[in-house]
Every structure is written in C-alpha cells, then in structure tokens.
Symmetry: C2
Subunit: 490 residues, 2 copies
Amino acid sequence: MAWTREQRYQDYSNYSETLIDGLEKQADTSRYKPKFHISPKSGLLNDPNGFSFFDGQWHVFYQAFPFGPVHGLKSWVHCTSDDLVHWHNLGVALPAGDRYDLHGAYSGSAQVIGDRLFLMYTGNVRTQDWQRKSYQNGAWMDKDNQVTKVTKPLIEQPAYVTDHFRDPQLLKVNHEYYALIGAQDKQTLQGEMSLFQSSDLKTWHDRGYVKHNLNNLGYMVECPNLIDVDNKKVLIFCPQGLPQNELATANIYPNVYAISDHFDFEQNIFQADSNKMVQLDDGFDVYASQAFNAPDGSAYLISWIGLPEITYPTDQENWAHCLSLVKQLKIIDGKLYQKPVAAMAKLRDNEQILPKKERVLVENAGQQYELKLTLGANQIGNLLLASDGTTEHALQLKFDTTEGYLLVDRANVGEKFATEFGEQRQIGLTPNKSLTLDIFVDHSVCEIFVNGGQKVMTLRYFAENTHTTIAFSNEEIRDYSGQYFTLQDM
Amino acid sequence: MAWTREQRYQDYSNYSETLIDGLEKQADTSRYKPKFHISPKSGLLNDPNGFSFFDGQWHVFYQAFPFGPVHGLKSWVHCTSDDLVHWHNLGVALPAGDRYDLHGAYSGSAQVIGDRLFLMYTGNVRTQDWQRKSYQNGAWMDKDNQVTKVTKPLIEQPAYVTDHFRDPQLLKVNHEYYALIGAQDKQTLQGEMSLFQSSDLKTWHDRGYVKHNLNNLGYMVECPNLIDVDNKKVLIFCPQGLPQNELATANIYPNVYAISDHFDFEQNIFQADSNKMVQLDDGFDVYASQAFNAPDGSAYLISWIGLPEITYPTDQENWAHCLSLVKQLKIIDGKLYQKPVAAMAKLRDNEQILPKKERVLVENAGQQYELKLTLGANQIGNLLLASDGTTEHALQLKFDTTEGYLLVDRANVGEKFATEFGEQRQIGLTPNKSLTLDIFVDHSVCEIFVNGGQKVMTLRYFAENTHTTIAFSNEEIRDYSGQYFTLQDM
C-alpha cells in the first residue's frame, strides 16, 4: 500500500475502529511479534521518549504511527512498569495535531517536577508549502496519566539552525533546567547540539552550541542524551552522516557515545576523554537510544531496535520495530558497559544446564529464551541460533577466542533485508581470553551482551519458526559451559 | 621504524645504494610480492598516474616513495608495456623536489601532444610552518622517456578552495584542453570538481566547479576521471567522507562512478543518469583508479590496490601495495562493466579443466593462477581459495545463486588487517541465475570479475604459502564447470 501525504497526516479519528482492530490482530498473530520487548499494538514504533521514574512507576513512551508501517502523524504512546521488565501499554498519551505539533509530536524526554511529570518534545509543523517548522514544546502529565500541553512553545527555532532542530533532553542541574537539543547549523550544515537554560521552564535562554572536542558530528545530531554514569558524564547521541574514516560502521546511521569527567554547564563545554566517539551497539539495528538517571542515580538506557529508511519484513504485516530491553549503564575501567537489568531474571521459567561436549546445546529452544554461555580461551567455532542444526539456516555467531573476535552473521537466517548494509557485524575481543555471552531471543529480536555488557550486539532477524535449534556448527567445541532459560511473556 | 618529517621529505640522494638494494631484496623475497601486477621495487606505491598510449607503447606511472612503507616525498615511477599485461619498470621519471613540487610530485594524468607526452600533475609544497600549497604543474616526456618540467605552475590554487586541490585529469576536446581537478570548497568544506580550460596549455581559464546532480560529494573529491565509454560519459572519482546513507560501503574511502549521456563543456555541467553514485569495485582495496581513452577509443582503467590510512602486513617488510590488472571498460544495458584485458590470456601456462563433482577443484593451485568458474542457478555453497581445504584457513567466496548473492570473507585467510572495516564484502546477484567468476590470484592479490565484469571484487590477503587448495567447503555443489590456468610472471 502506498501512503499519500494526506493519508499519513490525517487526524487519527479518521481511522475506523474496525481498521484498528484488524491491524492489531494482524500484528498480534505475527510469528515475529516480540513477547517481552515493547512493540507496537499496530503500525510503527520508533524512538523511545520520556523514559523516567514517576509516582512509583517506571515510564517510557514511544514514537508511534498506529495505522501502518510508515512515518505519518506521530504521537507518544505511553508504557508503564513496576520493574523495568513487565511493561503495560496505555495507548496514546501525547497526541499530535495541535497548533505547535500539527504534523507530529516528535521525540523528547521527561523530568519529574513537583508532583507531575514534565514532558519536553519537538512539535513538527509543516507550512502550506510543506516547509518544516520545529518547536520545542512542553506538556504536564499528572498522576492519573492525564496530559495537558503547555499552550505556547518553550523554544522556537533559532535563526541560525535549519529546520533540523529536535529531540530535547530536559535536564535538572542545581535548580536550573537545561535542554540539550539536536541541531543542524544553517551555515555549515553540520551537526550540533544546542543548549538552552531556564529557571522556570517558561523563559529559556539560548546558550548556543555545546563546545566539544569531538572530531565530527556529521550533518545532524539526533537524540542527544547527557547522563551520569559512575561519576562520569556520558553523552549518547546519533550523529548522521559520519564518514567511515571517522567511525567505521556499516549501519546507515550510528548511535554513539563519548565519555567525559564532567559537562561544564557554566561554559557549555563537553571535553570528551577521546575525540573519537564509540559505537553504542555493535549489532545491526540500534538507534535513537534514550537514557536517564533514576532517583537513586542509576543510569538506564532503552533503545529503538530499528533504523531509519530501512524496510523490515514486518512492514508487510503493517507493523514495525520494537524497543530494546532496559539496559543498566556502568563505567568499568573507563569504558561504558550495558547490562540487562537484573529484574530480567523474573521472566525465567525453565532452566537447563547446557549439556557437556555436545554439538547440539538445545534441540528445540523455542522463540523466547535467554542463553548464558561461557567459551574458554582458544576456542574457534560457530554458535548457531534459530537454526535447523546446520549453518544453512542459522543466525551464526562465529567466535575465535584465540585471535579474539566475535562475528554475527545474519545472512542465512530467514527473510533477507537491509542487505546493502552488510549481513555481518564483528567486534574485536582480547585474544586468548574466555568469552561470556548473555543472549536474549524474543521471536525476531536478538540482543547479545558480550563479556558482561562490555559490548552489545542487537539485531532483528526473521526466521522460520520451526528453526529453533541452538548448536555449534561442529563437534570440536569442548571448553564451554552455560545455562538456557525459557522466558515468559512480559 | 618511526619516520620523522625530516626523514620523509629529504632528498632521494640522501639514501645510499646499499639501503635501496636492501629494500629491493627484502621486497623481492617477500612471499606476498605479486608477479603479474605492478608493485614497487621497494617502498610504497599508491595512485596510478599518466596512464596513456604514446609512441607505440602503453605507459603508466605510479606514485612512489621508494624508501619505506610510508607517505614521504613522492615521485612518479614509470612503467611501459606493449600489451597492457607485461610491464617494465623504468624507475623514477618525474622526481619531486623542485620549487613547485618541493614536497611531492603528486597524482596526475597524461596526454599525447605532438610527438611528446604531456604530464599534468599536482605539485605539493609545504611552507616553513608546514602549510600546504597545491600547484597544478606540467612536464613533457619525449620519446626517449626524458622528462622536462614546465618551469611555472599551469594553475595556482584559486582563492575559494582549500589546499585540498589536486589530481588533474588533462582532457583534449575539440582542440581545447581541459583540466578536471579534485577540490574542497573553502566556505562549505565540501567536495567539488574544478574545471579549467586552455587552448595552449599555458593560459588556463577557471571555469568554476562542475555543476552536477549528484547528491553529495563528501568533503573532498580525489582522482576525478571523465572517460568515454561506448557513447556514454563516465565520471570515476573518489569522494571522501560520504555517509552510509549516501553510499553503503564498509571501505574507509570509496571509489565510485556515475554515468551520463554527455558532459556539457560549454556550460560545465555533468547531468548523471542517476543522482546516486555506484561503487566501482565491491571488494576491500580499490582506490584512486585512473582511466583513459586509447587512440581507438577503447577505455582502460587501472586501480591502486590499497587504501589510505590502513596498515597492511607488508608494511613490516618495508614495501606496500600494487596496481590492479588493466581493465577494459564497457557499457552494457546502461551499466559499467570492467573486464580484464583480453591479452591477459598471454600469461596462461597450463590449463586444467576442473574435475566434475569433486569437492577439491585444485589440490595445489600455487600462487599465480586464473580460475574461471560457472556455477549453475540454485547453487548454495562456499568456494575456498588459498586454503588448506577447510574453511578455517581459506579466503571464502560464499555464493547463493538461488537468493542471488556473493559474499567474500577474508576473516580466515592468514594475517589479519583492517578488521575495523569488516572482513566481508557482499554483492547482490539476480536470483535463480547462473554465476560466472573469473578470478586472478597473484600471491597476495585477488581480483574477482563477476558475470563478465558486471561487478569486480578486489582484495589483498596474506595467507600461508602452503595453503593453496581450491575447493568447495562441502560435497554438495554439483552444477559447475570451469578451467584453471597457471599464470606466468609478467
């Protein structure tokens, strides 16, 4: 189905209940639908928004176009959780269509202020000749989850940026509010991050671009997040248009991070420990990650598992994408670690200790499981997931703990997509060291946490549901141990 | 060995004969040294230059720093051939070190003018504070291969470009001369191609940037070539700093082409058939290709097999890189084809028809051969080159003519390098069609011509020289046929 502009941006009330029911049933019956990841009831999901802890609950919203697998009039859909694992979808919380978000309530963040949650987001407005205007708007959510929009924009687009000006992260620092906003400079057409400051959330002062020592932010920065992690300041963002010589990545757009000792709000300076940014996820499909600091200071991250401008197989089923598990951030030896939250263990059902010295580890692993595997030093092999026991139908994890690398190959696992960006992703490991993998599989989602979260490789795949064997490709791997858990629906 | 700036740019006369002899011996005895590809006698080779037909012979020069595997004071080294296959290295023809090429005689091209060959090249000059100045210089080569430099630069750097202004291609069109020069605009810092015009090679008129409909030329264009191929105009160039969403490539810098019906020299416009450029080579290691039209109108291309800023294993042996085979260009169904020149058959020594229904095709294939292989439709398998018969030591060519793809994997073939840019490269093929491969292996070079030159995948690899088996990884491939030829030294 081709969507016209009129169809994409029409009011939600134009869609019939019957249509929505049909779409939800179609998504529900998809064999690819994740069961313990947030996914859309229907239509398209993209960026996580407003990730927060408020009124005794965890909240996350997501960018949604509920009527098809396309970018149309976006709203925020609201999900809540008591444990960062079991999420409840409460439907659209922040609808678009008002004067300052007429063509979309785009991405943003949240802060608890008093007894309400303040949402700061980008209002997307198109003029009659389809020129974009970007407003940074506010909205209040009370304890009954009722959302009231602030009538006027908080921040209008400064004259020196293009209409690519979005994704405000609202920060509270020493009784002052700051908004960190992705921007494109009008003159240089380069990516920037704008900082605005306010003492009352009403009057905002333009503090200009963040001054930094990073080499190159491409032509646009999306989804900037500044986050406290173990006494470091971590800047997580999506620079669009980086060349390979700046950041070697096969993904269409990367999600990256940089670490610093502090962010100088006085001078508006972020001096990173290195002027080279690092990929946040070494898999295929992570973008637009959002992080926040919980009241106890812990840092949590959730990602969109999906990339812009790529057609995924479920588009055919009129729904698309999901969010990642919630990952807790840590700094260990100056490096960013991402671990699945400890409460993920609550989903565990049956446990099996992996058999010793077998090629086949789990004959019929099903579609929802966690696999924890430790491979000894000097092991060279190929771990097959979602397989029929052969490499011909398998998601392949090729490891070599002698040379030190892990390569994920999705070339032979079901329906092909995004092949022009390559079907392999690879990370280097310390040679001659054992390797631990903590792998979460949920129908069409696979998240691989390497060496306690030192690296994460996230991907979608779309395999036959009869292919559920976990095995090594040959008999030679002997030095391993691990566990397999079936996981319940969230 | 760390090279200081002083060492890199000192006069060649400071290097002793003994040192040069030693370097040449070291390169000569390297098991990785190609025998039918142009490679440096010692030190570093990069871009091909001045590719031409003059005085009854083919000529190509290459950028050379003869004293180590580093970028230092570059000169042009001269090679000649009677057949585009057997090349003779005549040593340095265009040395650097004069006033307008004090720090390098950088890349350029050649045209036959009267009874001499005119070389146009970039003179690299550094000021006392190491600021770069780029001059476009001229030199005449007579029939005795004597080169005389034109005393003054032909073209000085215009005020509106940065010092990245180089690699002139000299064209002769309707009794006028044109120079197409890679440039970076000073204001936008974007890649451009400058056109200059002259009727006498002395007075040059700045025609400004080429106007084009290509989306994005990155931050710099290197090595532009405009070439006539079967009544089309093909623009071959190296745009540096393209993002993945513009051109999906894992290489640090790409070499690309775009096709048009004509180049409008009157208006200085290149209107390409598509605003998306295409990768010239889908392998790992092609850059800085140079093309020219022979007197009969045929279009020939030769490439640097090497990429900037990457450490190759032979750096340890004090030499680096080689040139590709000469490829003849054709347009078939609007697409650019690259075929090894027909005269390559002259190098063939022994021919073997490949055995039928065997896993092992050639037990001990040696280091210099051509393999022609046709795989039937609906064949899924893995062709191993430079192997011990297993996938654990092999350059792997994974093919699937059902789905339609070919993947080249160099992860398991000898010494690792450039792994951060991925160890696999993949191309799509028409599904359910047979696949023909014409593969040239020369010690550490592999050039794979796919389906008669529709695609080319070029790579270096550095394997054990005992690993020379050609085999399929399993017994199942039955529908194939082909020939294997040992190849002589050139």
